[in-house]
C-alpha cells in the first residue's frame, strides 16, 4: 500500500493552537482529537457546541475565526494580471517551436501542468530533454535560467543526447565546453522505479526547488509506474489508482503555482480493442481519440492514408489496425486509441499535447486540451537538435465537421 503523507502545503492542517484560541479551548478540543483547522471545520455546529461548551452564537463566531485563519487571500483578476506583467519571471517557457508557441500564447505555461502523450518512440522524451536545455538558458534567450528536476521512471534520459541537442540547437551559445558543463550540471536527474518512490520524490521537491533554484519539473513518465503497479483488471484498483494520481496531481499543482514554474508530465496511450468495454469514458475530447484526428488528416491529405496504415505495426501499446482508419468517424465498437490513465487524470492536467505518427519520418503534435488554445496540429520531425516544425502555420481544426 503506498504511503500517503498528510502534508500538502495548505492551510487546513494549521494547528488550532496557532490560530489564537485559548489554551483551555484547545485542550478541550484535543480531548476529542480535534487539533487542526481541518478537524474543526469538518464538524457540524451541534457537535462543536457539545465539544466546546459554547452557545450557538459562540460557535459561529469561533467558526469564523478559524475560517479566517485558513481561508485563502482574495485577489481581483486585475491584480493577478498586473502582478504577472510586473513579475520578472515569465509566464511561459518557450518551446522554440514558434508556431506552437504562438498558439499556446507563449509556450508551456508556468504555474500549471502540461501533459505530453503519444505512442512509444514518437518523441516525448526528446521533447522533455529539449525543454530541459531550454529551461537552463538565460532569460534573454527565452529560457528560465534555472535548474531542472527530471524524474525518470523509464531510464530513458541520456546525458549524451542532452549535450548533443544543446550543441546543435544553439551552436553559437554553446561554443565553449564550459557552457555545456554548466547546463548539464543544472539538470538534476532522479531515477525512481515505483509509485511510492515517485510520490516521495515529489513530496521532497519543495525543498529541492528552493535550494537549487529549480525552474522546471519533468516527470517522464507518470504512466509507466502506475500501469505497472495497478492492475486494471482488479476491481478495487481503479479507485486506488485514481486516488494516487489525484494526490500526485494536487501536489504537483501546488508546486507549479507556488513557485510559478512549468511542470511537464508524459503519459502513454492505450487501446480499446473492439469486443472489450465499448466505452466513451476515456474519450475526453475528439482530439484525444487519436484515430478520430486521423480522419482530419485523411480529409486534407488523402495520399498519406496508405502510407500511414502500412507503417503501423502491432506493437503492444499503440496498436492501430487498418480497420480503424476507415471506421474512424464511428466511435462505438471500433478500436480507438486514447491517452492512458483515464478520465479522472484528464481532469487534473491543464494542457494536453498529443504526439502521433504520420509516416516513417514525420509526426504530428496536436494541442488536445488547453484553456487558451483551440485544437491545432503541427507537423514535425526529430533531428539532431530535437524537434523541428515543418510547415510554418499549424492546421487548425474547426469545430464543426460535415
Amino acid at each position: 500500500m503506498p504511503f500517503f503523507s498528510a502534508r500538502s502545503g495548505n492551510m487546513g492542517h494549521k494547528k488550532l493552537r496557532r490560530v489564537g484560541l485559548s489554551q483551555e479551548l484547545c485542550d478541550r478540543l484535543s480531548r476529542y482529537q480535534i487539533a487542526t483547522c481541518q478537524d474543526f471545520l469538518s464538524l457540524s455546529p451541534l457537535e462543536l457546541m457539545k465539544m466546546t461548551g459554547l452557545s450557538y452564537g459562540g460557535v459561529q463566531e469561533l467558526l469564523r475565526t478559524i475560517s479566517r485563519a485558513c481561508a485563502p487571500q482574495m485577489q481581483t483578476a486585475y491584480e493577478i494580471k498586473t502582478r504577472r506583467s510586473a513579475d520578472f519571471s515569465p509566464a511561459f517557457l518557450s518551446t522554440t517551436l514558434s508556431a506552437l508557441d504562438e498558439t499556446l500564447h507563449g509556450g508551456v505555461a508556468c504555474g500549471s501542468l502540461t501533459e505530453i502523450t503519444g505512442p512509444p518512440g514518437c518523441g516525448k522524451t526528446q521533447f522533455c530533454i529539449m525543454m530541459s536545455v531550454l529551461a537552463t538558458l538565460p532569460v534573454n534567450m527565452g529560457g528560465l535560467e534555472g535548474a531542472v528536476v527530471y524524474i525518470d521512471t523509464e531510464s530513458a534520459f541520456t546525458a549524451k543526447r542532452l549535450v548533443e541537442m544543446a550543441e546543435s540547437r544553439f551552436p553559437r551559445y554553446f561554443n565553449t565546453e564550459e557552457k555545456l558543463l554548466l547546463t548539464s550540471s543544472k539538470v538534476h536527474l532522479y531515477r525512481e522505479l515505483t509509485c511510492d518512490e515517485v510520490l516521495q520524490r515529489i513530496e521532497s521537491l519543495e525543498e529541492e526547488i528552493i535550494s537549487k533554484g529549480v525552474k522546471l519539473v519533468i516527470i517522464d513518465s507518470i504512466a509507466s509506474v502506475v500501469r505497472k503497479e495497478f492492475d486494471m483488471q482488479l476491481q478495487g484498483n481503479i479507485k486506488e489508482r485514481n486516488k494516487f494520481l489525484a494526490k500526485e496531481a494536487s501536489l504537483l499543482k501546488y508546486l507549479a503555482e507556488e513557485f510559478s514554474i512549468p511542470v511537464i508530465l508524459t503519459n502513454q496511450i492505450t487501446t480499446h480493442l473492439s469486443g472489450a468495454l465499448p466505452s466513451q469514458t476515456d474519450l475526453v475530447s475528439p482530439a484525444d481519440d487519436l484515430s478520430l484526428s486521423e480522419a482530419i488528416v485523411m480529409k486534407n491529405e488523402p495520399t498519406l492514408k496508405r502510407q500511414a496504415s502500412s507503417k503501423m505495426t502491432v506493437d503492444g501499446i499503440g496498436t492501430r489496425t487498418r480497420d480503424n482508419l476507415s471506421k474512424a468517424i464511428g466511435t462505438s465498437g471500433s478500436s480507438c486509441v486514447v491517452a492512458a490513465l483515464g478520465n479522472t487524470w484528464s481532469h487534473s492536467v491543464n494542457t494536453r499535447l498529443i504526439l502521433r505518427y504520420l509516416d516513417s519520418d514525420r509526426r504530428q503534435i496536436l494541442v488536445g486540451k488547453s484553456p487558451l488554445a483551440p485544437f491545432t496540429s503541427f507537423v514535425y520531425t526529430i533531428k539532431e537538435e530535437g524537434l523541428v516544425l515543418q510547415a510554418n502555420r499549424g492546421h487548425r481544426d474547426t469545430v464543426t465537421f460535415v
Binding site: 500538502s8 495548505n10 492551510m11 487546513g12 492542517h13 483547522c37 471545520l41 469538518s42 457540524s44 457546541m49 457539545k50 452557545s55 450557538y56 452564537g57 459562540g58 459561529q60 469564523r64 475560517s67 479566517r68 485558513c70 481561508a71 485563502p72 485577489q75 481581483t76 483578476a77 486585475y78 493577478i80 494580471k81 509566464a91 500564447h105 504555474g111 500549471s112 485514481n242 489525484a246 494536487s250 499543482k253 501546488y254 507549479a256 468495454l277 465499448p278 466513451q280 475526453v284 475530447s285 475528439p286 484525444d288 466511435t331 483515464g342 478520465n343 484528464s346 481532469h347 487534473s348 491543464n350 486540451k369 484553456p371 487558451l372 481544426d397 469545430v399 464543426t400 465537421f401 460535415v402
Partner: protein, 366 residues
C-alpha cells in the same frame, strides 16, 4: 412563553445547570435578575446575563435568531413570487441557444451545476459568465460583480482578458448602431481594467480551505453588495481525492449545498458549481456519470451537462424546475462561449438528440 429551555440556543452546560436548578420553560426565567440567576444556578454573572438576553430576545420576536441569516423562513404568496420572478435577472451566456433553453440565461437566486468531461468547456463558460455578469443594465445585463473560487488552478487571466475584450467590442457595436446616450455613458465604465477588478478570485487548495471560504462568504458579500455571481470551479476536485470517509463527504457536500442556496437567496445572486464526470461500471458497460454520488444530484436546482457528440460540443439541460429538457450545440471561439455555427450536419445531430427517447442516464449513447 411556555417554551421549553432546550429549544433555545444556549450552551449545553448552562442548560443542564438551569434544568437541575428547576428552570424548565422560558416563563420561569422571565422575572429573574442576572445576579439572582447566577447565585441560584451556579454560573457566572456574565453567563447569566447572556442567558437572559438570549431568552428575552427570542421570546419577544417569536423567531429563532441565528447568526448569519436574516431572512430565512420568510413567507410568500405565489403571486408575490411571480412578481419577483418576473423582475429577477438572468446572466446571459452569449450563446443564444443556451440562453433560450434556460429561459433567458443563468437565473439569479438559484444554484446551477455544470457537469462535463475535461476540456469540454465548463471553465470557459464560468469565465464567460464572470465577464457577462458585469454587463450594464441598459444592455440587458445585471451590472454585478463576480466571485470566482478556484479549486483546480484552471483560471487563466489571459483568457479572461480575451473574453472581456470581445465583450467590450460587442457592446460597442450595439451602442454604435443604437446611438442611445445612456448606452454610451454606461460603456465609459465598462473597461478592461474595471471588468478585471470586479472579479474576486480565491484559490482554495483543499476542501478545508473551501469550507473556510464558504463560511466567510456571507461577510464578504455583505461588504461587496454588488456581487451577483459566485462560481466554484470545481466543487468536485477537492472532495474526490482527499476524503476517504464517504459519509463525511456527503455531509460536508450537503452542508455546502445548503449554504450556497441560502447565499443565493439572501444576497440575490446566481451560484454556479462545476462538477466532473466519473466512470460507472454498470452491467459490463462503462458509463459516464456526474461525479460526487447520487445524493449530490439533488443539491443544485438546475443541472447542465456538457458532452461531446461526434465533434460537436453539446449542452443538455438535464434538470430544471421551470424549463423542459433539451439539448443544444455550442462552441468555444477565441472570443469565448458562443452559439455553434449551424450546418446541415449539426441540425441533424440536434434533431436526433432531441427526439431520442432519453433514458435517465446522462451518458453518451452510441
Amino acid at each position: 412563553m411556555q417554551r421549553d429551555l432546550a429549544s433555545f440556543s444556549l450552551s449545553p452546560a448552562i442548560r443542564v445547570k438551569l434544568v437541575s436548578a428547576g428552570f424548565q420553560t422560558a416563563e420561569d426565567l422571565m422575572e429573574v435578575k442576572p445576579c439572582e440567576l447566577s447565585r441560584e444556578v451556579g454560573i457566572s454573572r456574565e453567563e447569566a446575563l447572556e442567558t437572559l438576553q438570549i431568552i428575552r430576545r427570542d421570546c419577544l420576536t417569536h423567531k429563532p435568531k441565528y447568526a448569519g441569516t436574516s431572512e430565512s423562513g420568510k413567507k410568500y404568496t405565489a403571486l408575490e413570487l411571480l412578481e419577483q420572478e418576473h423582475t429577477q435577472g438572468f446572466i446571459i451566456t452569449f450563446c443564444s441557444a443556451l440562453d433560450n433553453i434556460l429561459g433567458g440565461g443563468i437565473p439569479l437566486m438559484k444554484t446551477t451545476e455544470i457537469c462535463g468531461v475535461p476540456g469540454v468547456g465548463k471553465t470557459q463558460l464560468c469565465l464567460q459568465l464572470a465577464v457577462d455578469v458585469q454587463i450594464p443594465e441598459c444592455f440587458g445585463g445585471v451590472a454585478g460583480e463576480a466571485v470566482f473560487i478556484d479549486t483546480e488552478g484552471s483560471f487563466m487571466v489571459d483568457r479572461v482578458v480575451d473574453l472581456a475584450t470581445a465583450c467590450i467590442q460587442h457592446l460597442h457595436l450595439i451602442a454604435g448602431t443604437d446611438k442611445e446616450e445612456e448606452h454610451q455613458k454606461a460603456l465609459e465604465d465598462f473597461t478592461l481594467e474595471n471588468i478585471l477588478s470586479h472579479i474576486y478570485y480565491f484559490r482554495c487548495h483543499d476542501y478545508t480551505e473551501l469550507l473556510a471560504q464558504v463560511y466567510l462568504l456571507p461577510d464578504f458579500l455583505s461588504d461587496h453588495s454588488k456581487v451577483r455571481l459566485v462560481i466554484i470551479d470545481s466543487i468536485a476536485f477537492p472532495f474526490r481525492h482527499d476524503l476517504d470517509d464517504l459519509s463525511l463527504r456527503t455531509r460536508l457536500l450537503n452542508g455546502l449545498a445548503q449554504q450556497m442556496i441560502s447565499l443565493a437567496n439572501n444576497h440575490r445572486l446566481a451560484v454556479i458549481l462545476t462538477n466532473q464526470m466519473t466512470t460507472k461500471i454498470d452491467k459490463n458497460q462503462a458509463l459516464l456519470v456526474p461525479a460526487l454520488g447520487e445524493s449530490w444530484g439533488h443539491a443544485a436546482t438546475i443541472r447542465l451537462i456538457f458532452h461531446w457528440e461526434q465533434k460537436q460540443r453539446c449542452a443538455v439541460l438535464y434538470k430544471s424546475p421551470s424549463q423542459k429538457e433539451s439539448t443544444i450545440l455550442f462552441q468555444i471561439t477565441p472570443q469565448g462561449f458562443r452559439d455553434a455555427v449551424a450546418t446541415a450536419a449539426s441540425s441533424q445531430t440536434i434533431d436526433s438528440l432531441n427526439f431520442r427517447k432519453r433514458s435517465r442516464e446522462p451518458e453518451e449513447e452510441s
